[in-house]
Symmetry: C2
Subunit: 151 residues, 2 copies
């Protein structure tokens, strides 16, 4: 298993996430940061969570992060399936939202989001594990409903 | 054909639209209006269009109207198919947006929206015709990918 040698920032998903973060960095705010530093804001430890109010509206920086994450999930689904995957992210109020990823006429991910203003993962390992699970579930869904995915 | 006797405000779709407009009328602004008056803002004649700037951001009143329309389309799909239809509306910038309606894991309507700040139909007949076409297409899609729709 070559994967055991990869650090959590070197996994295929984390590398895709780095690309997405870079592509959404319209103001070149990331200049000079290494990859671990670029992904660091995705880690929301208990300590960090405590420093953020329980209820709040996510600002544009947080939303760019959420978008980067689900863009990376969609791109990974694309790579694994060979089919175009399109994310659609919608926020409603007080940090609630919904994200869909569609492939053709098929919904391969459908998730209610909450606490968006505190978006993040307990650790890099968790970030990778949860993303991989979303990607794997999407691939299973595509295999089950291939015709709708190709429509 | 009993349908020929219905005025365009009496069609099943227009009646559903009236219900949606009422349910989104949180400030009771519609009190005292009859159904034709309630649906009148959905009619965007050439004359009315000319009075609205070419480019603009849709305000909350227009967006409530767009939401009411696609809610009515989703509800009509539900009635015709017996399956739950969920709309998801997202605006991006300068009147652009996207609307999806999903049934189970199936996308039954996927539309790019533009000129949202001038949302409307040339006539009541057009409003009905276009809505009916969306609903019929959705039903055809459900029949073609029944398993994904029931997933």
């Amino acid at each position: 298993m070559s994967e055991t040698k990869l650090t959590p920032v070197q996994t295929p998903f984390a590398q895709e996430l780095v690309r997405q973060v870079r592509s959404l960095d319209t103001y070149d705010m990331l200049d000079g940061q290494n990859e671990a530093e670029m992904l660091d804001p995705f880690i929301m430890t208990k300590q960090r969570k405590r420093e953020i109010p329980l209820v709040g509206d996510p600002d544009e920086i947080v939303m760019a992060r959420v978008r980067a994450f689900y863009n990376a999930v969609a791109t990974s689904i694309e790579t694994a399936s060979g089919l175009r995957a399109v994310p659609m992210l919608k926020t409603s109020y007080e940090g609630f939202g919904r994200v869909l990823i569609t492939v053709g006429k098929l919904v391969v991910l459908d998730k209610t989001l909450r606490d968006l203003h505190r978006f993040g993962f307990p650790s890099f390992e968790q970030l990778n594990t949860r993303a991989d699970r979303m990607i794997e579930n999407a691939i299973v869904t595509i295999k089950a409903f291939r015709e709708a995915a190709e429509a």
